[in-house]
């Protein structure tokens, strides 16, 4: 999937809807804009659903290089979502 920020995608989608709602586009333009809109919508959905939960802690080694380590911390008794 192309690397595009969620807000950029959703803004693009809103812009398309705004243009379409004005209703002054030709049928051809309307159809191609609609197609673009659906594409962005699918990207947004994918971004919402494809994210994964991960928790890491950063540690600096003796050379000052940052490394990540998986990390788990207890937060009352709430369960992990995954």
């Amino acid at each position: 999937m192309a690397k595009i920020k969620f807000e950029v995608a959703i803004k693009g989608l809103e812009d398309i809807v705004d243009r379409l709602e004005k209703g002054d586009l030709s049928l051809d333009e309307t159809l191609s804009e609609y197609e673009n809109g659906i594409k962005l919508y699918k990207q947004c959905v994918a971004m919402l659903e494809n994210a994964e939960k991960k928790m890491q802690v950063l540690v600096k080694d003796e050379n000052g290089v940052l490394r990540t380590k998986d990390f788990e911390i207890k937060t009352t008794q709430s369960n992990d979502s995954n």
């Binding site: 920020k5 969620f6 807000e7 959703i10 989608l13 809103e14 398309i16 809807v17 379409l20 709602e21 209703g23 586009l25 049928l27 309307t30 159809l31 609609y34 809109g37 659906i38 919508y41 947004c44 959905v45 971004m47 919402l48 994210a51 994964e52 939960k53 991960k54 928790m55 890491q56 802690v57 950063l58 540690v59 600096k60 940052l66 990540t68 990390f71 911390i73 937060t75 009352t76 709430s78 369960n79 992990d80 979502s81």
Partner: protein
């Protein structure tokens, strides 16, 4: 000797004294006396003649209306002073009087200094706030928007504090599908500010971090102090990653809060700000999609009704009307043409008949029909209009209305 009287006197005086002091001895005694008498004392006064040479030691004069005293604050103490000393400032100073033997001067060496009437930290906060504000570090126009759907969130705080627990609790509650990177730091005490600032700088070198939370749970003003340090403020300001500041409770406003792109009242609120509400995002996304579909549907409706209008229009329904109308026109013109030409023909015919009649009336045959005849020369066939040239016996042709004869001249009559 004239002096013999006076000398024993002097001698006696000296002799009665236990010891003659050198200047150094005197000075040392003054020093001991002063330093014992004025050890660990608080004084109040107004700063003047403030000097901060590069050595790091600070020199100033403390005075009131009538007196003044030289004051020195050595580097180690000066570095610990949170607020900025200024001439004219009323302060409380804690320290001891010492004597600078080399010059025979006494001075107050201070170990602690506080503004009068206001806490030192409070004043330091106000001073830094004023300075950074003037520099534009709190400018709302400089603040970066928070991402709507962050994938990677960094948290700069202590692993053992309440803040991390509160933030993670929110994230768990929302079943957020985010990557979290925790950068553990000291959040209070010596060196905390530097660690926090370093963490913010370090995180800016790691790719793909969408937003970071910098903060800690509640505590005293001293506990929160690291978040009022300039070095932290500068790091937050320089950060390319949006920073949410979440320090203490709602009532605690720190310099970090003011510089950050967003202030969270508590670490819990920071979690709420940064972790998206998936249901809400999904909801608004579905709403936009519905509008998208509806707008296409509307377009089709408009086009269809437009088509219908065209289809129902008079001209579209009866496409041959125009042709018929044209044909009709053509017929009319043709008819006119025909009638006009007929008329012309008639006129011509009448004219012709007239001409024929006129021609007829002037025809020699017509004259002949009335009993006249024409005499012509037999040779030349020319009409003979006189007797001139005629001789008796000459043969002539005479034409009647019906038929001709050849005759000959019998007699010439004059």
């Amino acid at each position: 000797m004239n002096f013999s009287n006076t000398l024993p006197l002097l001698f006696d005086t000296v002799k009665n004294r236990p010891k003659i002091l050198t200047i150094s001895e005197l000075t040392r005694r003054i020093r001991n006396s002063l330093e014992n008498e004025f050890f660990n004392i608080w004084v109040v006064g107004e700063i003047s003649n403030l000097k901060k040479p590069t050595s790091g030691h600070v020199y100033l004069t403390l005075k009131d209306a009538d007196s003044q005293i030289q004051v020195v604050m050595f580097k180690s103490v000066a570095n610990g002073v949170k607020f900025e000393l200024r001439d004219g400032m009323e302060v409380l100073a804690f320290g001891s009087v010492t004597v600078y033997e080399l010059r025979g001067q006494y001075q107050l060496v201070i170990e602690n200094i506080e503004p009068k009437g206001i806490g030192a930290l409070q004043l330091a906060f106000l001073q830094l706030k004023e300075r950074l504000e003037k520099e534009g570090l709190f400018d709302p126009a400089r603040k970066k928007p928070l991402p709507l759907l962050p994938k990677k969130i960094a948290i700069v705080t202590s692993l053992t504090g309440a803040a991390i627990r509160d933030i993670l609790k929110v994230i768990n509650k929302r079943f957020a599908k985010v990557e979290i990177i925790i950068y553990p730091v000291k959040v209070q005490g010596e060196g905390a500010a530097l660690e926090i600032a370093q963490a913010i700088n370090d995180l800016n070198t790691i790719p793909d971090i969408d937003v970071m939370i910098v903060g800690r749970g509640g505590g005293s003003l001293e506990d929160l102090w690291a978040f009022n340090e300039e070095v932290v403020a500068r790091s937050i300001y320089a950060s390319k990653i949006p920073v949410i500041s979440a320090v203490g409770h709602e009532i605690d406003v720190t310099i970090s809060d003011l510089v950050a792109d967003k202030r969270a009242l508590t670490p819990t609120e920071a979690g709420e700000l940064v972790v998206p509400r998936y249901d809400q995002l999904k909801d608004s996304l579905e709403k936009i999609k519905a509008r998208l579909v509806q707008s296409l549907y509307n377009k089709i409706l408009v086009i269809r009704s437009h088509l219908l209008r065209i289809k129902n229009s008079y001209s579209f329904k009866r496409p041959f009307d125009r042709i018929l109308r044209l044909q009709q026109g053509l017929d009319e013109i043709t008819q006119t043409l025909v009638s006009v030409s007929k008329h012309t023909l008639e006129l011509e015919r009448e004219r012709l008949i007239g001409l024929v009649n006129r021609l007829d009336s002037v025809s020699p045959l017509k004259v002949l029909s009335r009993g006249y005849s024409i005499t012509t020369s037999l040779e030349s066939n020319k009409p003979i209009k006189s007797i001139e040239g005629l001789t008796v016996g000459k043969k002539l042709k005479i034409r009647f209305f019906k038929g001709s004869v050849i005759s000959s001249v019998v007699e010439l009559l004059e």
